[in-house]
Symmetry: C2
Subunit: 238 residues, 2 copies
DNA sequence: TTCTCTGTGTGCGAGTTCGCACGGAACAAT
DNA sequence: ATTGTTCCGTGCGAACTCGCACACAGAGAA
């Protein structure tokens, strides 16, 4: 019974996996399973972060925005490989970003204060800080992609990142949502999706995109996909 | 004598300032003053980082690139408010980014191994980790600017960030250099600079840009400047 | 069934940046 | 003074995205 529990809880989130048993027990004692419905706002800019979330499914996204909110863009994508609230691990209790659930799923959460306590454990601290690095590499390459890639390629990259985190070929998202994440027009997403479809890389139906050809998408993303993923694998792979 | 030394060394770099005396002494024992000539490559993608640098003048920039190097963009700007090699503080000895000296200056450096030891000190660790957070906020807003701003505004933002770090109204850079950082054509930079000049915000001569009107530049940058700076001030201001 | 809302497909003019290419101007070295 | 190099100004067609606007379709509610 105990073993099953443990297997289940540690398989879900890859950051929490590979934690030695003696540390895992107190750690999981502070974790609370939660549902992560699409649209849930996890962090608001400037507001104190009460909980950090370790998804086991679905996708969370960190959105950078101007203070007035009239410009916004996705700066980080988080799934079962990571956690929300990485800035808590870095020693602050808030950030200027907004964090929301992009694709509904499940996960565990922990009070930010508990996490701060648990960070005294070197094993956990090392692991979470390395994740912070991996996340910032991801953000840097998003900046690169935003500056240098055409919409098709950015879309391909985004779908790949989502695909990694979902572990499933079906991404339940509307063009509208994608346009906000990529910071472009909704119509532009429609057209770019047609291009991907035309090459047989994906298949889009109402509110759902099915990934058909990962390798093709990677080619389309032209070198801007892969670096953050490799960095994560190097530092945190199971 | 001792006092002067200490004053000089702690004033130069803002991250190293405000360190309690008992910690500062061992810390500074491991620091070595260095010259930072323009063009110096501080970190190469994938190569082990031997030293971290704490500038006291000049500007260092972190460049994200594709593995083949055919697309690159500045993902982070570092001056006397920060340090290079933040990933060492996060527990890894390399990164996929390239780090070079943008504008020549001076600074101190420390062996990465020494920094890892010194990070056991909570005061220093806290401070450096907070800086990592501030830097990642900067990167996120670079991603935002790259996606949503026109070239004029991005240029304005970049000049502001440089101005902050130089503490001097003269930025010694060529259009060519700027074009690489911003990931655009050199000719585009020329045109955008004319726009800024036309509004009396800057004055450009051969290889040198003089900042005339900060407030005007901030207006031009349209809300994408300021958030990372405020976050730094909140967490690390002297 | 019918209505209504959300999601998707499409078209068109305008603005921005690109890629390329060339002329001129300032500076350094000889 | 001349030469070579770097840096800056400019022009033009192509490509991409924008902003707006409208039509259609699937899904759920009445």
């Amino acid at each position: 019974m105990k073993v099953e529990e443990k297997g289940a809880r540690s398989e879900g989130n890859q950051l929490l996996a590979r934690i030695p048993a003696d540390l895992a027990d107190p750690l999981f004692a502070h974790l609370e399973p939660v549902d992560l419905p699409q649209g849930l706002v996890i962090e608001q800019p400037g507001e104190v972060i009460e909980h950090v979330y370790f998804p086991t499914g679905g996708v969370i996204s960190v959105v950078a925005m101007t203070p007035d909110g009239d410009a916004q863009i996705e700066a980080g994508l988080i799934g079962r490989e990571g956690m929300s609230g990485s800035m808590v691990a870095l020693g602050t209790d808030r950030s200027p970003h907004q964090t929301t659930v992009q694709i509904g799923g499940t996960g565990h959460r922990m009070a930010a204060a508990r996490l701060r306590e648990m960070m005294r454990e070197e094993v956990l601290r090392k692991r979470l800080l390395r994740y912070c690095h991996a996340l910032s590499v991801q953000t840097a390459h998003t900046a690169l992609a935003n500056a240098k890639l055409k919409l098709d390629a950015r879309l391909a990259r985004w779908l790949l990142m989502c695909h990694d985190r979902l572990g499933c070929d079906e991404v339940p998202l509307t063009h509208d949502f994608l346009s906000i994440m990529l910071g472009v027009r909704r119509a532009g997403v429609t057209v770019s999706l047609h291009i991907l479809e035309g090459q047989g890389l994906v298949r889009a139906t109402r509110g759902l995109i099915r990934i058909n050809d990962r390798a093709g998408l990677e080619r389309m993303a032209g070198g801007c996909y892969g670096v953050p993923e490799a960095e994560y694998a190097r530092l945190l792979a199971a």
